[in-house]
């Protein structure tokens, strides 16, 4: 059962890691489609 719980924990860690990493390297949809004349974020 330990392997199963570890896998579930790993799933959560991978999900948060993916979200953080993709956001950091500018792969969010708003980052990819923004420009000088287009503002898709809150700023």
């Amino acid at each position: 059962m330990k392997a199963m719980y570890t896998a579930f924990l790993a799933t959560a860690v991978i999900a948060v890691g993916a979200w953080y990493t993709l956001g950091e390297i500018g792969f969010s949809a708003s980052d990819r489609n923004t420009g000088n004349a287009v503002r898709l974020d809150d700023g």
Partner: protein, 405 residues
């Protein structure tokens, strides 16, 4: 779009539940219309046919407004091009659109193929997909009522044998746990508008949809990692062989008591599950990556080109598939394919979950603790148990033969 998807499905042998509605949708064909009365422009019959949802020859409406005469003077109109011509050019993607941000997809201002996608998504895809899942659960419930739980026929020995190592079980649960989460969140996103909103309202669905999208996008990486790990660990054991024929001949003993066909580490049924997960899961991952990175990974135009080269679409009577797709069409095909293949895999996995839990005594132990009773192994994986025993015997003999230092 529906016709092309059907060809893809047929190519993979999954045509069953979708063949009827698609065929019905495509029953209407374009008809030759005499347009001499309008000088070649659209006629009343064209307009009526379009409103009936029939296919219309839009050749005359796809003209480029740039080919029209120049504007007569400063206070003139649009030159030789009317407003209607401009809108037609925008609709058919022939207008010269300039944007300050974004790639080719940003220059598409009207994409009327989106309506076909929406109708297919909210119609046959959702309806038949949900029925497939409900039908699968119904059949399994019926099977359980008729057959009952498949019990271990012999006496349990109390001795266990290691069926799966920790790392194998980790890979399985990484993939399995994430797949269930992806399935639930995917269904919420797909059917939420029709199922969640009437019950919980728009505000609640907004929160659920945003949460589901976040989870679906980010948990997908765990699924892909688990998929790769399982493939590496188990592909060698899942290559079909003659033993599978014996197993299939008696239905794996699933339908009658006391029948235990020989099987190695994985029997034919498990091999079917394995290859379904690898192939369908791989296809879902590919289309999912295309959706995760919008417009960055188009793959359907290339796939259609390859399919056209095989001649399969024409052989099946669907003509030549389009090899030029607008960026949005690529995304629409990716979404539909992602959902269709996911429904198929969900149905298969529901069966897998059933037989691995309530359907068979002792099956869950294999992935729970990794240890199974020898009697269970003897009945369901007899050849594998013999291999394990002979290896253990050889190991203990070599240990005994080694002189003490």
């Amino acid at each position: 779009m529906a016709r092309i998807l059907l060809t893809l499905i047929l190519a993979l042998g999954l045509a069953g539940p979708l063949a009827a509605p698609v065929a019905a949708q495509e029953a209407s064909q374009a008809t030759e219309t005499d347009r001499s009365a309008t000088g070649g422009a659209q006629t009343l019959e064209d307009i009526m046919a379009r409103q009936r949802g029939e296919k219309v020859d839009n050749f005359q409406r796809e003209e480029d407004p740039d080919s029209a005469g120049a504007m007569a003077n400063q206070l003139g109109g649009l030159g030789g091009a009317s407003d209607s011509d401009v809108w037609s050019a925008l609709r058919y993607g022939t207008a010269d659109v300039t944007v300050t941000s974004g790639g080719p997809e940003a220059r598409v201002l009207i994409q009327d193929g989106g309506m076909k996608w929406l109708q297919f998504r909210e119609g046959p895809l959702t309806t038949y997909g949900n029925w497939l899942l409900v039908g699968t659960i119904f059949v399994l419930a019926l099977f359980y009522l008729v057959r009952g739980r498949i019990m271990i026929d012999g006496e349990k020995t109390g001795r266990t044998v290691t069926r799966f190592k920790s790392i194998e079980r980790f890979a399985h649960w990484l993939m399995a746990g994430s797949f269930i989460v992806l399935g639930i969140t995917g269904l919420l996103v797909l059917t939420g508008r029709t199922v969640i909103i009437p019950i919980f309202g728009h505000e609640a669905f907004s929160t659920i949809a945003m949460g589901s999208k976040w989870i679906h996008n980010n948990v997908s990486w765990a699924f892909m990692l688990g998929l790769i790990m399982c493939f590496v660990f188990w592909v060698v054991h899942n290559i079909p062989n003659k033993t599978d024929l014996k197993w299939l001949k008696v239905g794996g003993g699933l339908f009658s008591e006391g029948v235990h066909p020989p099987a190695k580490k994985f029997n034919a049924g498990q091999k079917f599950i394995f290859w379904s997960v690898i192939l369908l899961g791989g296809s879902i991952s590919a289309s999912g990556l295309s959706l995760l990175f919008p417009f960055e990974l188009p793959m359907f135009a290339k796939t259609f080109a390859v399919l056209n080269q095989t001649g399969l679409p024409e052989l099946l009577g669907f003509g030549v598939l389009p090899e030029q797709l607008a960026p949005h069409e690529e995304m629409q095909f990716a979404q539909l394919w992602h959902a269709i293949v996911s429904f198929a895999l969900m149905a298969i996995i529901i069966g897998h979950i059933y037989i691995g839990s309530v359907g068979m005594e002792g099956a869950y132990d294999a992935m729970g603790t990794g240890e199974v009773d020898e009697q269970w192994a003897k009945e369901h994986h007899g050849l594998w148990l013999e291999e394990v025993k002979s290896k253990e015997g050889a190991a203990s003999e070599s240990k005994a033969a080694t002189p003490a230092e």
